[in-house]
């Protein structure tokens, strides 16, 4: 892309750079807008500012070492990326994690989904000028991060999962705080809805903006809340269940027009549905009682430290796993999970050996952002801001 000066006129058109460092891009995105007056004639997204070569790095790391890199894909809901990646590797290995770990993975995925949707709605609102809702929502997100810190020891970059299970079990103080969260979060969502849903300014800025037909959304490769807002009831948790999602009781909200307002409504309802799943997870954890959270196959998962220090065989397993990695079967798998933004896919090609031969991440917001030009063409600049927020573009997973 040729360098564009900050702002210049080109015949009747003015070319304006939105980003790479602009308050509404929330990350480093660059959009070149061609304007006629206030109307957008053409929008050219220019991405890659956050490209870190994750896939290239993955080819040179062991399967276990790649987990911290998945945190940095969608950094608003890093736990869900951890889960998505380990589910993919477990599909390649053809193993299943223990029941307690499965419930905990669902629990943390849904908490991460709530966190992601809270951020998305909050940021979208603050970009449009509704600052209050943003502050209300971020109070709840803080509790979610406290819960993550209890689980993983980290707030943002959790790296909580391991191949074959989880890093550790949740501590005793997790449950009371999670119960408290289940109590307070629906109230906050109600407060947010009172502030936004019937707010005429919010409706003016979002209704009809970014509307998309179901056929078009499918052709663009939309997934997640943006596709469901367009009226397609596609959710991998229902359609292609993983981690036992088919045993949980929840509904899939669907919109009608696919505009930013519908995306907001779909996300709001998904928060409520995710809270239902979290409730069921807590009940199940109580029913299951204590148990292992990682498989006891020491050719895949590290043996517990007590064994490493006291038993020769465990020490060898530990050494072999750290130095030589897991013995992978030869083959290729594509595994998709329903992340907060849509379908998060991992395509793994193994030629045996400790590192994947090829690892490819299919980020949900990449195809969605591809349609940005079509979404904003012929609209005013202010609509570009609403559309960008409604798409929930996360530069980390967009550029990888």
């Amino acid at each position: 892309m040729e360098p564009t000066p900050h702002s210049r006129t080109d015949g009747d058109r003015m070319i304006v750079n939105m980003g790479p460092s602009h308050p509404v891009t929330h990350g480093t995105l660059h959009i070149v807008l061609e304007l006629e007056g206030e109307i957008i004639v053409k929008a050219t997204p220019n991405i890659g500012y956050l490209h870190r070569g994750v896939e290239k790095l993955g080819e040179n790391l062991t399967y276990q070492q790649f987990i911290p890199l998945t945190d940095r894909l969608n950094y608003c809901s890093s736990l869900m990326n951890n889960v998505g990646y380990t589910v993919a590797v477990e599909k390649l290995l053809d193993i299943q994690d223990p029941p307690r770990s499965r419930v905990l993975r669902v629990l943390c995925s849904e908490l991460a989904r709530i966190g992601d949707h809270l951020v998305c709605i909050g940021i979208n609102a603050v970009d449009i000028g509704a600052f209050t809702a943003f502050l209300y929502l971020f109070r709840e997100r803080e509790t979610i991060y406290d819960l993550f810190e209890m689980m993983a020891g980290q707030r943002l970059h959790s790296s909580f999962t391991r191949i074959g299970g989880l890093f550790r079990d949740i501590p005793a103080e997790f449950e009371p705080l999670c119960e408290q969260f289940l109590e307070s979060c629906p109230r906050t969502v109600d407060e947010m809805e009172a502030l936004l849903t019937h707010n005429p300014i919010w409706a003016d800025r979002t209704k009809g903006v970014g509307a998309i037909t179901p056929e078009n959304a499918v052709s663009w490769g939309y997934t997640g809340p943006c596709l469901r807002a367009a009226g397609v009831p596609q959710d991998l948790r229902k359609g292609q269940p993983y981690l036992g999602y088919e045993t949980y009781d929840f509904d899939i909200p669907v919109g009608t027009t696919g505009d930013v307002y519908d995306r907001y409504l779909v996300r709001t309802e998904e928060i409520r549905q995710s809270l239902r799943i979290v409730r069921q997870c807590l009940d199940r954890l109580r029913e299951l009682g204590p148990g292992p959270v990682i498989i006891e196959d020491y050719k895949i998962a590290l043996p517990p430290k007590e064994k490493v220090y006291t038993r020769m065989e465990s020490l060898i397993h530990h050494f072999k796993l750290i130095m030589h990695g897991i013995d992978m079967p030869v083959g290729e798998v594509y595994s998709a999970t329903e992340a907060a933004n849509g379908e998060l896919g991992f395509y793994l090609v193994s030629h045996g050996g400790k590192s994947p031969y090829r690892i490819h991440v299919r980020p949900p917001c990449f195809p969605i952002f591809n349609s940005f030009d079509e979404q904003v063409r012929g609209r005013i600049i202010a609509d570009a801001v609403s559309v960008l927020g409604g798409m929930n573009i996360i530069a980390g997973e967009l550029d990888r």
Binding site: M1, H51, G221, G331, A336, G345, Y347, R362
Partner: protein, 165 residues
């Protein structure tokens, strides 16, 4: 299964097939690729979820372009792989699937595989005058001498690779 129907309708198009871990996969000859895509589109595989490639670095054909398709009605997935020799072009799907636009540009950018008929085949993630294609296997992990020679005199790439070998 859709693969049996492809084999029945378009004899000779399928070079190889497997279902490792339940992922339906076909390898299709490059010349028959568009016919196969048209056929499976009619069968309901109307979402192009992903396009990527693998640098196999074997003499017969260097790359494999990998397409992942999803049938929203039956929730079936299909992986179509096409062998592409170095320097050869792959027909673009941009006129059939809108999502092929950036996905193919990314493959072009990172692997250097040209897509014939793509409306705007330019680099996507890397900058325009970036030397080489980073996801090719012969591209060093740290970028090689191009990026390292100025300040340290030599590339760390061989050492970096040997640490992980």
């Amino acid at each position: 299964m859709v693969i049996e129907r492809i084999e029945a309708q378009l004899p000779g198009a399928v070079l190889e097939r497997h279902a490792f871990r339940g992922d339906a996969t076909v390898t299709v000859a490059g010349a028959r690729f568009l016919e196969v895509v048209d056929f499976v589109f009619g069968e309901g595989f109307q979402m192009l979820v992903d396009v990527t490639a693998v640098d196999l670095a074997i003499p017969e054909y260097r790359f494999e372009v990998v397409y992942h398709l999803l049938n929203l009605a039956s929730q079936a997935r299909l992986r179509i792989k096409v062998p592409v020799p170095e320097g050869a072009a792959q027909p673009s799907l941009a006129s059939r699937f809108k999502s092929a636009d950036w996905a193919e540009r990314e493959v072009f950018d990172l692997f250097g595989i040209p897509f014939e008929g793509h409306p705007n085949l330019t680099r996507l993630l890397m900058w325009e005058d970036f030397p080489g294609h980073p996801l090719r296997k012969d591209f060093p992990l740290d970028g090689g001498d191009l990026f390292c020679s100025q300040d340290i005199g030599a590339s760390f790439a061989p050492e970096a690779r040997s640490l992980n070998a």
